[in-house]
Assembly symmetry: C2
Homo-oligomer: 194 residues x 2
């Protein structure tokens, strides 16, 4: 029995993952208005019925998708070997400038006008906010018992979010690299000065 | 003749301004999908025909609106008496946390999926980016001939944009005030240290 069940569970999990990844890609490319369960199912090569079995509503699918991909990316980032501040800052800023941030931004903005989405996206935002703060503190070896350090790290994450927004319509890579280099230095000084 | 023309021009200008202000408020509250010329005309107490006389397309109306309100706010900010870094930082961050930023964000995100909007919003963004950078340099008395100062100021504006985004779904005021207080100090040090 177990031999039959396990591959079935694996297949189900693989389908779920394909749907989640397709949902983020779809949201990033087409925005909320253009992202439906059908479009995602087709992109993932899954029947609409199977998609609805996994995610009964559109809200379920897209909030789960952003959460899943965000956690995947955070896990990958945490697994990297310890490095210098500049490398950590660059890697964290990268979190905010790819398709994941673009997808999250579409969800975020849609949630500001849609009651059904708002509560779930607010929870997701709070969860990811705490997670990314904890990750930044850990990777930057920030000592939050010192006054101001907590707010220094928070401001850095706000800057990363703003850099993501600046990359939405045009390729902001060249400017961003210079800003990141300079702010890495400011952060390093702020986190190490007595 | 002049006596007849002048009040007519004044009335036309007043109508235009009412439309622009209503368009920003509408975009901030209802998002791009819920913002049409008709909705704005009604809100401004102007006929649909008159609205279309001033702004032939939906794209014309909303890009002009965000541009107009942004310039109004910048002019007001520039006219304030010279103050300390903390007050300048707080006043500039305020630019990004009210209805204007909310409206601009909706336009921005819609532009990422709508060809007709993209080019105009990209131009608007570039223009406002230059303007706000120039304003920040001026108000903070930043000496851009010194290495790193330009990027320090840019990163601060990115942080302000990120703080605006963090205020979209929930009231982030308390956290933001602490971040702004801390980074005002870091910015002041970065801009004045040799």
């Amino acid at each position: 029995m177990a031999a039959v069940t396990a591959p079935k569970q694996d297949r189900s999990r693989a389908t779920r993952r394909r749907l989640l990844e397709a949902a983020v890609a779809c949201l990033a490319e087409r925005g909320w208005a253009g992202s439906t369960v059908s479009v995602v199912a087709e992109r993932a090569g899954v029947s609409r019925g199977a998609a609805q079995h996994h995610f009964p509503t559109r809200e379920d699918l897209f909030t789960a998708a952003v959460e899943y991909v965000a956690e995947e990316r955070c896990t990958a980032l945490r697994a990297l070997p310890r490095r210098h501040t500049a490398a950590v800052v660059a890697a964290m800023v990268d979190l905010y400038t790819g398709p994941l941030f673009r997808a999250a931004l579409h969800l975020w903005v849609a949630a500001s006008n849609e009651e059904k989405l708002r509560r779930r996206v607010t929870e997701l935002e709070a969860h990811f906010g705490r997670e990314s703060h904890r990750m930044a503190v850990e990777l930057l070896h920030a000592d939050e018992s010192r006054p101001g350090v907590r707010e220094t790290v928070q401001g850095f994450l706000d800057m990363a979010r703003g850099l993501g927004l600046a990359n939405l319509l045009t390729d902001d890579t060249a400017r961003r690299h210079k800003v990141v280099a300079q702010w890495s230095q400011l952060l390093e000084e702020a986190l190490t000065s007595p």
